[in-house]
Amino acid sequence: MKKLIVFCLMSLFMYACSSNNNEKKEERTYAEESAPAASDASTYDPHRGEGKFDKVEVGEKLDVSMANDGKVIADLKCASCHKMTDEKLVGPGWKGVSERRKPEWIMNFITNPDAMIDKDPELQAQLEICLVRMPNQNLTDDDARKIYEYMRQNDGVK
C-alpha cells in the first residue's frame, strides 16, 4: 500500500511538470483583471491610507457650497449607515472624524474601501465591531472631496 502512495505522489509530481510545460494553456486563459496597484501591508501608510490621494489642499475656512453639495451626496450614498452624531448605526457616526483623520486617509478610504479594509489595522478592528464591510459607493474624486468638506462642516469648521 505504501508503494502505491509513493507511486501516486510521483505521478502527481510528474503531472505538475507536464502542466508547467504547457505553454499553450497560458495563452488560452486570461489573468483576472489586475487589482489596482497595491502595496503590501509592510509599506502601508496608516496616516495616508491607500488610494489616489497624496496631498489634499484644505482651506482654513469652510467652502460652504462644497459642503452643501457634499450633504446631498452623503444623503444619497452614506446616510443609510452613518449618523452625523457620534452614534454608531451600521457604521460609526461622523462626529469628529475630520479631526481624527487626515483628509487623504478619509478620501482614500471612501473611494477605495476594499483595499484599505484589507490592510489598515484600525479598519480591521472596526470591522470586528461592525461586521459589515463599508460598501464601495462609486464616488468620484470630486464627490469624495465634497463629502470631506461636509464632514468638516459637521465638525464645526466655519
Partner: protein, 662 residues
C-alpha cells in the same frame, strides 16, 4: 488480496507512465484521454476564452457558458417568466412579455445570432427568436439582459430566425408554419392551405446606435414551412437564403405528407431589390394588424409596450427579381453560407448527400433564365445550374454546417449521430467523429462570420441517455466540445445544458467583457418611483393603493416598520438598491406574495405588487445574501381590517419595543 495488490501497483505504474507521456510534445491526433482535460481546463480564477450563448429551447431563456470550460455563467431570462430574477413578475418587467394575445409567460427559444459589423461579431447584442408566439428579442451585452421584444404579425411559429445580415441591417423572421394572414379573412377551411395559407418573411431593421428593432417590411410567398436561413456575405451580401420544407403544401400528417418530394427548395431573396421596390412604392400597406413592441429602458429601469397596427408587404409572386427557388434535397434544415459568401450549403435532413450551391452560378443562371418552371409564380432555378457540387456519402441526416476558416466545413448529422469535416473546394470528407447522441446544431466560434475562429466545434445534442448520472426519466441535454485545431477532431468535454439547446454562437471574451456594466448609477436612475437616499423613504396612500418607497443597502431596508395598510389595499413595494458596488444586488420578498421576488441591481428600482389577503403582520426580507448581517435584513408590514383607524406610519430604527409584559 495478493492479486488486488498487484492490480493496484499496476494501476499506479500505468498512471505514472501516462503522466510521463504528458511531458512529451503533443501530436495532433491524440485519443480522448490524452490532454483532453487540459484543453478544457480553465483554472480557478481564470477566465474562459469565449462566451458561448446557447439557446435554452423550451425553457424560453438564453444561457451563457464559458468555453472551453463549459461552465454555466448566466441564464438570461427572455421569453419566459423567471421568478429567481423577478423577470415578468416585477411591475417594471411585466410589459416585456406583452403580446397581442395578452401577457404570454413562456416561449420556445431556438436560435441565437450575435450582431455583426462587416461580417464579424461586434459584441453589441444577441438576437433570439420565439418559436411559438412569433417574436424576436434583443439582448444587450453590456447588461446581459433582454432589452427589446418585437412580435411578428402574419406569422405562425417564428423558426427561420433571427438570422442577420453582415452589418446587422436586418434581422429576419421566416414563419415555420404558413398561416392565413391575420384578421377575420383568416377564417378559412384548413384544407385550403394551397389557396389561402401564406409564407411570410419578415425583415426587421436594427438601429445601428441603440439596436432598436422595427418591422421594415414583409415578403409574402406561397405557403410552405420555412426552417432556417442565412444572409449572404461578401460577394453575396444583399441576398438572403431560406430553407423550406413541406413544398408539398400538406396540412395534415406532415410526417408522411411533407416528405414526398425528393427535393424542396432554398429560397434566395434579393433584399437589396426589395429595398428598391419599397422605394418605388411597390409595397402594399396592410393596416388593422395588432402586434406588440416592448422596450426596456436602463435609465428608468422600466419597460413599455407599444401596439403597432401596420406593415408593408411585398408580394414575391408579383415582383420580378425579388425571389428565386433553388431545388434542394430533401427537407433541408440548415442553409449555411461559407466565409467567402460564394458557397451555400444545403443540409437536407432526410437526404444522404450535401449539395453545395455556388452564388456566382446562381447569378449566371438568373441572367441566362435557366429555370425549370415556377412554384406559386416564383421561378425555380435548375438544380444543376445552381450547384457547385455534392458531398457524396457524408452520413445520414445532415442538419447544419459551420466553417473553420481554413477552407473546411463541419456538418452535424442527426441520424448517424456524428460530425463530419469536409473540404469546401474538393468536397472530400476529411474526418468524422461520433457524437453522443444525435446532434442538432453545431457551432464553431465565429463559424458564420467572414473569419471563423477554428479552434473548437461544439455539438449540441438532442439525446443524452447514459452520458451523465441518471436523474429519472428526464436528463439534462448535453453539449460536447471538440478541439479542431489539428487535422482530426478531438472530443475534450461533455457539459449539460438547460432546456433544449438549438443553435448557439460564441464570441471572444475580450469583445464583450470590458463593456460589461457593473452598477447602474443611482444619480441617473429616472424611475418615477426611485428613492434617492434613505431620507426620502416613505409610504404614500392613493385611494386603495399604498406605495412603499423603500431603499436597500447592507443590511437594512428603510422603512422597515410599516403600519396603516388595510385589507383590500394594493401594496406596491418600490425598492431602490442604493448600493453602488459591483455584484451587490439585494432581493425582496414578502410573505404570501402570489408572484415572485424582486432582485434589484445596484442603483436600480424595481416594484413588487402585493395584495394582502388577510389581517396580520407580515415579514419581508432580503433574499440575496448581502453581508454578515444579511439575516437581519428584514421588516414588518401590518395589515389591519378594512376601514381601520390605524394611520399610515413608517420608520426605520425609531419604532422601539414597548416595555412591559403581556
Amino acid at each position: 488480496m495478493e492479486l488486488k495488490k498487484y492490480l493496484l501497483t499496476g494501476l499506479a505504474a500505468a498512471t505514472l507512465l501516462s503522466t510521463f507521456q504528458a511531458c512529451k510534445p503533443k501530436g495532433a491526433g491524440e485519443a480522448v484521454s490524452g490532454g483532453a482535460a487540459e484543453k478544457a481546463y480553465v483554472a480557478p480564477g481564470k477566465y474562459d476564452e469565449f462566451y458561448n450563448f446557447v439557446s435554452g429551447g423550451f425553457s424560453g431563456q438564453l444561457s451563457v457558458y464559458g468555453l472551453p470550460s463549459g461552465r454555466l455563467l448566466r441564464v438570461i431570462p427572455v421569453f419566459s417568466l423567471d421568478p429567481e430574477k423577478g423577470w415578468g413578475f416585477s411591475e417594471e418587467t411585466k410589459p416585456m412579455l406583452e403580446t397581442s394575445h395578452g401577457n404570454v409567460p413562456w416561449d420556445d427559444l431556438h436560435h441565437v445570432q450575435l450582431s455583426k459589423t462587416d461580417g464579424e461579431y461586434d459584441g453589441k447584442w444577441v438576437f433570439v427568436n420565439a418559436n411559438n408566439t412569433p417574436r424576436l428579442a434583443r439582448v444587450d451585452l453590456t447588461t446581459f439582459r433582454t432589452a427589446e421584444i418585437l412580435e411578428l404579425p402574419n406569422s405562425g411559429g417564428n423558426h427561420s430566425s433571427p438570422f442577420i445580415t453582415e452589418n446587422t441591417e436586418y434581422v429576419v423572421a421566416g414563419t415555420r408554419f404558413s398561416v392565413p394572414v391575420d384578421g377575420e379573412s383568416g377564417d378559412v377551411p384548413i384544407n385550403t392551405y394551397k389557396q389561402n395559407f401564406r409564407g411570410t418573411l419578415s425583415f426587421v431593421s436594427v438601429n445601428k446606435e441603440n439596436g432598436n428593432m422595427d418591422l421594415a417590411f414583409q415578403i409574402e410567398t406561397p405557403g410552405v414551412n420555412y426552417d432556417l436561413s442565412r444572409a449572404g456575405k461578401g460577394v453575396s451580401h444583399g441576398w438572403f437564403f431560406f430553407s423550406t420544407y413541406n413544398t408539398e403544401q400538406a396540412n395534415t400528417l406532415l410526417e408522411v405528407n411533407a416528405s414526398k418530394n425528393d427535393k424542396d427548395f432554398v429560397l434566395a431573396v434579393n433584399w437589396k431589390k426589395a429595398e428598391e421596390y419599397l422605394k418605388a412604392g411597390k409595397g402594399k400597406k396592410v393596416t388593422g394588424l395588432k402586434y406588440a413592441h416592448n422596450k426596456y429602458d436602463e435609465k428608468s429601469h422600466t419597460s413599455k409596450t407599444e401596439f403597432k397596427t401596420e406593415t408593408i408587404v411585398l408580394n414575391a409572386e408579383e415582383l420580378e427579381g425579388l425571389c428565386y427557388y433553388i431545388p434542394c434535397p430533401k427537407s433541408p434544415h440548415g442553409v449555411d453560407v461559407d466565409p467567402s459568401g460564394e458557397y451555400i450549403v444545403g443540409s437536407g435532413k432526410l437526404a444522404a448527400l450535401i449539395p453545395v450551391f455556388s452564388f456566382s452560378k446562381i447569378q449566371k443562371a438568373i441572367e441566362g433564365k435557366q429555370f425549370e418552371g415556377k412554384f406559386g409564380g416564383i421561378p425555380i432555378i435548375k438544380y444543376d445550374a445552381a450547384l457547385y457540387g455534392e458531398v457524396e456519402k457524408p452520413g445520414l441526416g445532415p442538419l447544419h454546417t459551420e466553417f473553420d476558416g481554413k477552407g473546411n466545413a463541419i456538418t452535424s448529422f442527426f441520424v448517424s449521430s456524428e460530425l463530419v469535416k469536409w473540404n469546401i473546394k474538393d468536397l472530400k470528407v476529411l474526418d468524422r467523429v461520433p457524437t453522443y447522441y444525435s446532434t442538432g446544431h453545431l457551432m464553431i466560434p465565429g463559424g458564420d462570420t467572414k473569419s471563423p475562429d477554428g479552434k473548437y466545434v461544439v455539438a449540441y445534442n438532442k439525446i443524452t441517455k447514459d452520458r451523465f448520472l441518471p436523474t429519472g426519466p428526464e436528463l439534462s441535454q448535453s453539449a460536447q466540445i471538440f478541439d479542431i485545431s489539428g487535422d482530426k477532431m478531438q472530443l475534450i468535454l461533455d457539459f449539460p445544458t438547460i432546456g433544449e439547446p438549438h443553435y448557439a454562437q460564441a464570441i471572444r471574451a475580450e469583445k464583450v467583457k470590458d463593456k460589461s456594466v457593473k452598477i447602474f448609477k443611482i444619480e441617473e436612475n429616472t424611475n418615477p418611483y426611485a428613492t434617492k437616499g434613505e431620507k426620502d423613504a416613505r409610504v404614500e396612500r392613493k385611494g386603495n393603493q399604498v406605495h412603499v418607497y423603500l431603499t436597500s443597502i447592507r443590511s437594512h431596508f428603510a422603512p422597515d416598520n410599516i403600519e396603516g395598510v388595510q385589507l383590500g389595499d394594493e401594496v406596491y413595494f418600490h425598492v431602490t438598491n442604493i448600493e453602488q458596488d459591483w455584484d451587490m444586488p439585494h432581493g425582496f420578498a414578502v410573505k404570501g406574495a402570489r408572484n415572485g421576488e424582486l432582485l434589484i441591481m445596484p442603483g436600480e428600482t424595481q416594484t413588487l405588487k402585493w395584495v394582502p389577503d388577510r389581517i396580520g403582520v407580515f415579514p419581508f426580507y432580503c433574499t440575496d445574501f448581502c453581508s454578515a448581517l444579511h439575516q437581519e435584513m428584514q421588516g414588518y408590514i401590518r395589515i389591519s381590517k378594512k376601514g381601520s383607524n390605524v394611520p399610515i406610519s413608517y420608520s426605520v430604527g425609531t419604532n422601539l419595543p414597548k416595555e412591559g409584559t403581556n
